[in-house]
Amino acid sequence: MAMDDLYRQYILDHYREPRNHGHLKQPDVAAADINPLCGDRVEIDLKVSDGRVTEVGFTGRGCAISQASASMLTEKIEGATLEELRALTPDDVLEMLGIEIGPARQRCALLALRVLHEGIDGPYTGRLDDDN
């Protein structure tokens, strides 16, 4: 693996200049979680109207993978229905990132999806298996 395979320019770009960054005023959905292994943190706010995401905001701190994943996910879900959000899988997120992510870093990559699902349906109930 060459050093820049994982840290492609667009990943670093999302990390340095995250899209949809910041909290929303009076969000309909607000969720936060951490990756206890490394302390990465992601918070996601949604405005929802007629079952559709109208506005997204996120904040967080952590590694480039976790923060770029959150930033890219917020772009991906604008305008999506809650059903579409529920249907998002870890594979969808890994495909969105477009890089090979080893097992040790999967939790970083999938933290934002976990927060999103927790926001919609309440605390984590095991839908995202840790070994996914």
Binding site: M1, A2, M3, D4, D5, L6, Y7, L12, L37, C38, G39, D40, R61, G62, C63, A64, I65, G102, R105, C108
Partner: protein, 418 residues
């Protein structure tokens, strides 16, 4: 490639023969492995792997039970390992060597057995801000069980214990126990433990040393230190995982009730009650890690042959070289004391690069380092850090590997456009 430096050192060769460690010939992502995570767990020389293998092939049976030849041989090998470990730390008697799974289990043994029997509501256990979680959490659990409380010796911004604060805490809290690491697993700090132990004893407190980072890396003499308990792990000192040691002063161990109940640890069992085996078996319930114990004995012999003074000197030279080499890298910050007061570990940050990103980048260059909180979250919070990257050294580390680290860190700066 290797430049002369201010330490006057051009090249530091491996102390142990590199060929003793087969794993060091591995390639990772097409690059030669540079293993700089020995503080987490050390690599294993063939002598130790062979000792375990030969024992398992020729002399293995359960210990302390059978009257047949194999069981007697296995028992003799296990008890020989106990004597080897006792000599290694200069214990008065091999009966003071209690085999556990690891350092954490050894500390928990003291917290449950000694702690439950001796601590009362309002008593204080004094730990420090720079401990590994395994020297914090067992005391917090003990405090919850008996209504005691845990206080912490603060550290300075430079990552050393605040000894004035320690003196005050001894006076104001009158702790029953002081529990501290002989070497910080994050900063490499080597606190003046002799002085700390003497001060604790003056007010009647016992001292438990977490030796997980010290016993593998420097000469440790429990009688010279005059500590009361010492805990350490086999896997950090070239031995296998699954075997650790609690050393305790015999008088204390004799008075302590058992920790775990089961086979091996009893003298007599009746349905109405039981009596306990003599030391050390009172604390060794169940079939022990027999093969691993033999491996630990072999590890102790290997390290003794190298000489622990030489091991310590080797790592001191490496850490001085590493600190000089790394501190020349722009945006790189090293935490902790100067080289002369630390063992072979260096934790740092590189600009705003998250340590997990950095460790992934270094892995791409074949370099294994630890990234994160290193099981020391309170220390990171104290220093205002979310995480650090740690390089740690051992008997097989060379200065060329530190050069490789420095080169990879420069490339990481380029990737992140620092």
């Amino acid at each position: 490639m290797i430049e002369a430096t201010g330490t006057g050192v051009d090249f530091i060769a491996s102390l142990a023969p590199r060929e003793d460690f087969p794993i060091l010939t591995r390639a990772i992502h097409g690059k030669p492995l540079v293993f700089l995570d020995s503080a987490a767990s050390a690599q294993k020389p063939v002598q130790i792997l062979d000792a375990m293998d030969a024992f398992a092939r020729t002399s293995y049976a359960n210990v302390h039970r059978g009257v047949y030849t194999l069981s007697e041989e296995a028992t003799a090998r296990m008890e020989q390992a106990r004597k080897q470990v006792a000599r290694f730390i200069n214990a008065r008697s091999a009966r003071e060597i209690i085999f556990t799974r690891n350092t954490s289990e050894a500390i928990n043994l003291v917290a449950y057995s000694w702690g439950n029997a001796n601590l009362r509501a309002g008593d204080v256990i004094l730990s420090t801000e720079m401990e590994h979680h395994s020297n914090i959490v067992p005391w917090q659990l003990l405090a919850q069980r008996v209504g005691a409380r845990v206080e912490y010796i603060p550290i300075t911004d430079g990552g050393e214990l605040d000894l004035d604060a320690y003196t005050r805490l001894l006076e104001t809290t009158k702790p029953k126990l002081v529990a501290l690491a002989q070497m910080s697993n994050v900063l490499g700090t080597l606190p003046p433990v002799e002085q700390i132990i003497a001060q604790a004893h003056e007010i009647g407190a016992l001292v438990l040393l977490d030796g997980a980072q010290s016993v593998p890396h420097l000469p440790v003499d429990v009688r010279a230190l005059d500590c009361d308990f010492l805990a350490f792990s086999g896997h950090k000192m070239l031995g296998p995982s699954g075997i650790g040691v609690l050393w305790g002063r015999r008088e204390l161990l004799e008075e302590m009730p058992p920790f775990l109940g089961g086979g091996e640890m009893i003298r007599e069992v009746h349905l109405t009650g039981s009596t306990w085996a003599d030391l050390p078996h009172k604390f060794e319930a169940g079939t022990p890690a027999i093969i691993e114990t033999v491996g630990l004995g072999a590890a102790v012999e290997y390290l003794s042959a190298l000489g622990m003074e030489r091991v310590h000197a080797h790592e001191r030279a490496l850490v001085a070289y590493a600190m000089e080499r790394l501190s020349a890298i722009p945006d790189l910050t090293i935490y902790g004391p100067p080289a002369e007061r630390r063992g072979g570990a260096v934790s740092f940050t590189l600009g705003e690069i998250h340590p997990h990103d950095l460790a992934t980048l270094l892995d791409g260059d074949g370099i294994a380092v630890r990234a994160g909180l290193h099981c020391a979250q309170p220390l990171h919070e104290r220093l205002g850090l979310t995480a650090t990257t740690r390089a740690s050294f051992y008997v097989y580390t060379t200065s060329a590997e530190i050069d490789a680290l420095a080169g990879a860190l420069e490339r990481a700066r380029a990737v992140f456009a620092l």
